[in-house]
């Protein structure tokens, strides 16, 4: 049986005042307790204006401590209030379910304990990126990787699709305890990517606008520039395709064979 406490993890979107859905706003206004983790200090003040009793999740970060410890503490702080019978709202920048471990863990944890828990989507940096850069992920396909994960594991990059790399400012951080890594780490990332792209390949350093008075960052660089580029926590790298899509003739032939069989079947009926 569902207990009285509940959890809603909602997305604020990226831009102050522009992206918050009516449902998410209702959750924020009606909750007993509101926690918030946002990417811009003025956006945090905006949430605080909506809910003066808002509890920022910023203090849970501690450079030198694994972020996994911080993430678990954030989840636990929210769930403790749910267990105490309160309606809890976790407010997260962008979309609470996109490149976001904490809201997923909190919702799953609450449900596992028998509480009602929902996630309300928001407009993510990915959504803003498609609009600002004029990219349709359906045109050539689009791969997304977290930068460090791309480095830690054997992955197959398809250079005929778009490639989008997240959290590049912390690329290669095995400790999960740093908020940034430097050129030596990025040099390894560039080496890895150079297996699939020429060093002169264009790359866009993208940052969504968080205020209506500012513009998104859309700096065009070359792959080789990434080592010394100004890449921050909020920077996302966008690689346009490096080669045309290759037709899969074997599959096309098999499909043509199926089409023939279907046609013949029709004639026989």
């Amino acid at each position: 049986m569902s207990q009285q406490g509940s959890l809603a993890c909602v997305g604020l979107g990226m831009m102050l005042g522009a992206h918050l859905s009516p449902r998410s706003r209702s959750h924020i206004e009606q909750a007993d307790v509101v926690f918030a983790l946002v990417s811009d200090p003025l956006v945090e003040l905006w949430v605080q204006e909506m809910r003066p009793d808002m509890r920022s999740l910023q203090p849970f970060y501690n450079e030198g401590t694994s972020r996994l410890v911080s993430y678990n503490a954030m989840v636990e702080a929210m769930l403790a209030e749910v267990r105490a019978g309160r309606r809890v709202c976790g407010v997260f920048y962008g979309h609470p379910g996109v490149f976001a471990l904490v809201p997923h863990k909190a919702v799953a944890g609450a449900r596992a304990e028998g509480f009602e828990a929902v996630m309300e989507p928001g407009i993510s940096a990915e959504d803003c990126l498609y609009a600002d850069l004029g990219i349709d992920p359906g045109k050539y396909g689009c791969q997304h990787f977290e930068a460090s994960q791309l480095m830690f594991y054997q992955r197959r990059i398809d250079p005929s699709a778009y490639l989008i790399i997240w959290q590049v400012g912390m690329a290669g951080d095995r400790s999960l305890a740093r908020f940034s890594t430097g050129p030596a780490y990025r040099r390894l990332l560039v080496e890895l990517l150079a297996q699939d792209y020429p060093l002169t390949h264009p790359v866009i350093a993208y940052e969504a606008a968080t205020l209506p008075i500012t513009a998104p960052r859309m700096d065009e660089l070359r792959l080789s520039d990434l080592v010394d580029a100004d890449l921050r926590l909020q920077t996302t790298l966008v690689f346009p395709p490096a080669m045309p899509m290759q037709r899969n003739q074997e599959m096309l032939d098999r499909l043509a064979g199926l089409d023939c069989e279907m046609e013949e079947g029709k004639c026989r009926q």
């Binding site: 830690f152 999960l176 209506p212 909020q234």
Partner: protein
């Protein structure tokens, strides 16, 4: 609600041309420094004037949950 945040919320809600931008800002009571930062679209100064958090950390994804 602070007038700066209210102005930003209004600007966020309705995209507008440059001429309307100034008029919108002037429809809120802002002190001289706040107004200048808004007109200059100066994010850093605005944050300083509002006393916002200096350093935000907001990564909520781990590359490897087993680390």
């Amino acid at each position: 609600m602070s007038n700066v945040i209210r102005a930003l919320e209004t600007l966020g809600r309705s995209p507008m041309q440059a001429s309307h931008y100034v008029a919108t800002i002037d429809s809120f009571v802002l002190d001289r420094a706040e107004r200048k930062a808004m007109l200059d679209r100066d994010h850093a100064t605005l944050n300083e004037l509002m006393g916002g958090t200096k350093k935000m950390v907001f990564a909520i994804m781990a590359a490897d949950e087993e680390t």
